[in-house]
Chain length 240, copies 2
Amino acid sequence: MAKWDVEHNHLTIGGLIFPNLDQMDFTGPFEVLSLIPGSQFHILWKDLAPVRDRRGLVLLPGTTLRDAPALDVLLVPGGQGQEALMDDEEILEFLRTQARQARYVFSVCTGALLCGAAGLLRGVRSTTHWNSFHLLPYFGAIPVDERVVVDGRHVSAAGVSSGIDGALRLVELLGGARMAQAIQLHLQYAPEPPCKGGTPATSSPDILEDARAAGRGLADQRLVTAKRIAEKLGITVPAR
Amino acid sequence: MAKWDVEHNHLTIGGLIFPNLDQMDFTGPFEVLSLIPGSQFHILWKDLAPVRDRRGLVLLPGTTLRDAPALDVLLVPGGQGQEALMDDEEILEFLRTQARQARYVFSVCTGALLCGAAGLLRGVRSTTHWNSFHLLPYFGAIPVDERVVVDGRHVSAAGVSSGIDGALRLVELLGGARMAQAIQLHLQYAPEPPCKGGTPATSSPDILEDARAAGRGLADQRLVTAKRIAEKLGITVPAR
């Protein structure tokens, strides 16, 4: 595969959206990747009807899965709506087909679980949202507890906001550090979170416990699904 | 004004969107603020037609300016489309009317210039995107070169991605540090930019020069507008 050259090649990027996604999983990377010179970004869903994120932001798809061109970069966001797509063969087949020829497959948050359900993560070092991290082995992935994990042409980012860091890393891989820094300057991305926190390890135990309790229903459901898909994919996970 | 109490009070948030906004100015804060318990977020524009951001993300407004309720928090994003609204009396009057009773007015990026054009920044310590920072005095604002600036009920964030930090700061002000940390954990917001940079001071001089050159046309236009509005508002800016 020839090295992509921003001066001479066009870069075709596609990002999946779906009902009840977590919009920042998508909009963070969109902001970064859409600034790559010579790129075109396709916003993809089954049809062109408006797609509502889990908190009510409504996005319009621009291209149907059927009409999507061959993508150089495939972005797969997550959010609670990912769970409804874990057995959706139209989606899984789309991911598999695009992944076959894409330069990079980039998952954010629980978008990794969708990639996993499509069978794309076997033997791939990967990360996902902290609350789903323990599910990665069910898809044959090798869990790596880092904010952004690059394994060959697979890039995965941890929860939600980590998609911004993952996208900048991807720009670095595609176009070099200079391009990443130029985009970073435009976004004035020199973050200063006002509080300590943002990970299980740096949050106080009671905040973590509340978050786990609030997410337990969905987490339980995701575990059942992951076990079922492991069986479907013929993956055995050692008991912990 | 009574202290807002998440256990007992509903919080009404409204965020303006407009053609050619920079979507992350809006979607970053939306992600954070929409997670405040007991809140409702109105996505506002003149009408309900789709609004396209500067890179092609299409958002749907949910509430017209005319139908907007009294807002506790008013979010004003920026992006190049802000320039087209600097003399738009429908917008400016909406901002003035809402600001009169809002608990907080929160500008992100060049949303500060819109607030300035509405006359809301006289004597207010404020920040904005680094490439428009020098314009703040034309609106009577006191420029403060920090990522997030809080002056009473005015919160302003610098460029684009700083809206995430500003929104978390606002959650802290509204609901306390514990609430901000819980939201931060959900978003897994423990940023790790892969490159050094993100500000004029930390970017290499050639990257900064390229960014200034690319933005010069719009920057020149914004300066002409700022001078005209200073005159309209009766603000005198000492020559530099």
